[in-house]
Symmetry: C2
Subunit: 426 residues, 2 copies
């Protein structure tokens, strides 16, 4: 650590096709062999070790104590609030940029991505899942409730949402076990069955994580939402449609969703996304005043879904959609969710709901892509899919443009557990 060797220019380390340029600087938690998980920033093919950076005294001006960076979760950073978030981001950009402020021996603090394991970046407090895509809500309404108005009466007046299971949120890359569940009686039977789901699906979503909100009982306005939104991740809200269909009335989805939800490990700060915020669709009728939004809050984010069965020749991109078409945006979602004074805490996660569009492959779920299984997908090797098969891997990628992407959130389906023993102990 003594001496000041000429360090590499970090910018030279960033491949042109990396989603993690100096303009991005997403935060995550990573582990290395034999060392505890800690905070890092993804930059090109490397990760800046923030715990080591803090130990070098290089983050002191941010006002954040060193222990914030040596934790296995972003929660303490999330709790520190927007002024600290901005100070830290500015300092990291300064350290990584060539110039008089750059650290000469930055290489010591940069670890090759291949040598680190990204972890779940934070254990979500509460996890809310909205239903913000008009196209998705319309499709699901037609499939689940044929013959009735697909959109609930309140849909255009408020961002409908529900709470999911925070404890089942996992980092991208975690294998997803096919869940068992109760499924509606077959035609002619009066008894439901209990079996591994036969309709395992994905939901392509965008989610944001918050810092601490105001005191419990006080709302966050659309205007103030940016003060509380730290950043965004990609999400795959795995869904078992047969379980969901049987259980969901009148209290909403429960076990059809609660087995697992994957998020991308690198949290892209709101500040990095500002250049990509655009106006959303015209809202008609206009929302009530507390939900009105006259600033661009829709993210121009291209999403693609790759299905990778165990047979490599079957791999295919099965969907492409852009998030900018979402009817309700993040600021409106947060204002709505807190409009009744609900507590908002550092690490709360709010997801968009499945993102779909109007084109043939612009759908963020298999149930839409195959129209409830009626139009199976044909994969390049001739195999077909209505829903996911064991061994299938799903990779969702998202990018706002060169150097500004989310990376990916992936998960491979593993077979359902053998419940023979469990049943026999009843």
């Amino acid at each position: 650590m003594s001496g000041r060797p000429e360090g590499p220019d970090p910018r030279a380390k960033i491949p042109a096709d990396s989603p993690f340029s100096l303009a991005n600087l997403p935060y995550g938690v990573f582990a290395t062999a034999g060392e505890d998980p800690r905070l890092g920033v993804a930059i090109g093919d490397h990760v800046l070790d923030l715990a080591a950076t803090a130990r070098r005294g290089l983050l002191r001006d941010t006002g954040l104590p060193d222990h914030v960076f040596s934790q296995p979760s972003l929660t303490a950073l999330l709790a520190s609030g927007r002024p600290r978030w901005e100070a830290l981001r500015a300092r990291i950009a300064e350290l990584l940029s060539p110039g008089p402020e750059a650290i000469a021996d930055v290489a010591e603090l940069l670890l090759p991505s291949g040598e680190v394991t990204p972890r779940l970046p934070f254990a979500p407090g509460d996890y809310v899942d909205f239903y913000s895509s008009l196209e998705h809500a319309t499709n699901l309404g037609k499939i689940f409730r044929p013959g009735s108005d697909p959109l609930p009466a309140a849909w255009r007046h408020l961002p409908i949402g529900y709470h999911g299971r925070a404890g089942s949120v996992v980092a991208g890359g975690t294998p997803i076990r096919r869940p068992w569940g109760q499924i509606a009686p077959r035609e002619g039977s009066s008894s439901p069955t209990f079996a591994p789901t036969d309709a395992l699906d994905i939901e392509v979503e965008l989610a944001f994580v918050t810092g601490n909100g105001p005191a419990h009982g006080e709302p966050i306005s659309v205007t103030d939402a940016a003060d509380f939104i730290f950043g965004f991740v990609l999400m795959n809200d795995w869904s078992a449609r047969d379980i969901q269909r049987w259980e969901y009335q009148p209290l909403g989805p429960f076990l059809g969703k609660s087995f697992a939800t994957s998020i991308s490990p690198w949290v892209v700060p709101l500040q990095a996304l500002k250049p990509f915020l655009v106006d959303g669709p015209v809202q008609d009728p206009p929302p009530l005043p507390h939900l009105r939004c006259d600033r661009p809050w829709n993210l121009d984010l291209d999403l693609e879904v790759e299905l990778r069965p165990e047979a490599p020749a079957a791999a295919a991109t099965i969907a492409r959609v852009n998030a900018r078409g979402l009817y309700w945006n993040a600021a409106q979602q947060l204002a709505h969710a807190s409009s009744n004074g609900a507590a908002v805490r550092a690490g709360d996660l709010f997801a968009s709901g499945t993102i779909s569009g109007s084109g043939r492959d612009e759908a963020g779920s298999l149930i839409e892509l195959t129209w409830g299984g009626a139009r199976p997908l044909e994969l390049p090797d001739g195999s077909i899919r209505r829903f996911l098969a064991d061994g299938d891997e799903v990779v969702i990628r998202g990018s706002c443009g060169p150097g500004l992407g989310f990376g990916e959130v992936s998960g491979r389906i593993t077979p359902a557990i053998d419940r023979g023993f469990i049943e026999s102990t009843q």
Copy 2:
């Protein structure tokens, strides 16, 4: 601390009408003036300071490190698992009972209840709310969906439930602010309104808290449920019926519930409740094998609801109901919630749903007691209530018998906040 003065017999301190006898020993978190919150056990009119007890070396044999007791949450104790829970309970009973093992100077470790402030005993991880009372589900179905079958098709096949907002769970005694929310368009209008709820209600519930479940992906069987259930609390799941009615389809209750949920501050251990577990109603049709329960798991718990308006002369007991009539019990609820492999963590909270019976005042909510407002309650001073008024305090008490009670969960309604400023900043 030197010498061994003749201590008082702790049993002599326990008033005959106290819910907290030596057979109970409920756990909580409390604060005293100038000292940090820490763990305690309620005993008669006193609280045993577990942090101080541990510092005296008196809890060493339990295998629990001292720091578990000096935390502001039960979570570390919950995470320690059933063998430790049982060792700790046995040790505390030993310390508090007269006899050769009793601590002579126990008085130093007992604080008068009047000098301590109970806190939220744990920050719930996930909070699930079931819908386990046949009478409540039938009543709500008739009120919310007149003309259709009040019970959803799946109701008798599985304990229907949904996730509530864990971050809005507060300790009994915390004031409850009347929430704002969006309410359906009035007859003849196409636009909803945004206003403080006009239908603020209670839900009388019983809830349990868990230790760590098995690995994410593995279920808990009905038979094994007792290994994971630490204890029970009373709950008031405050509900805004007008908000709920407008928002709840198809994803279930959200802002109509998420503003606040109160739990009683003393967690009664499952071990204390075993003598009061009885058989529940016959389940017809019989549940599928993984939900079948042939052991007594319904709690014979008398519940009463007192409404205390600001005018003392208006106070009245408005409902009495027993929890033993619940159709689905705690073991079935936990087995169902984990049947898909959902993660179960120390501090997860699972509530019964509103507890109602078939008698006139056997209903755990005002919407049932007043049949949607059609039959207002008349209070002793002649005033009436359809739903709660500002200033009303609701006190729910629960008891299994002499010396074995939950104490109470209470909350007073404070007026809605003034949103004028927030609206004007839009």
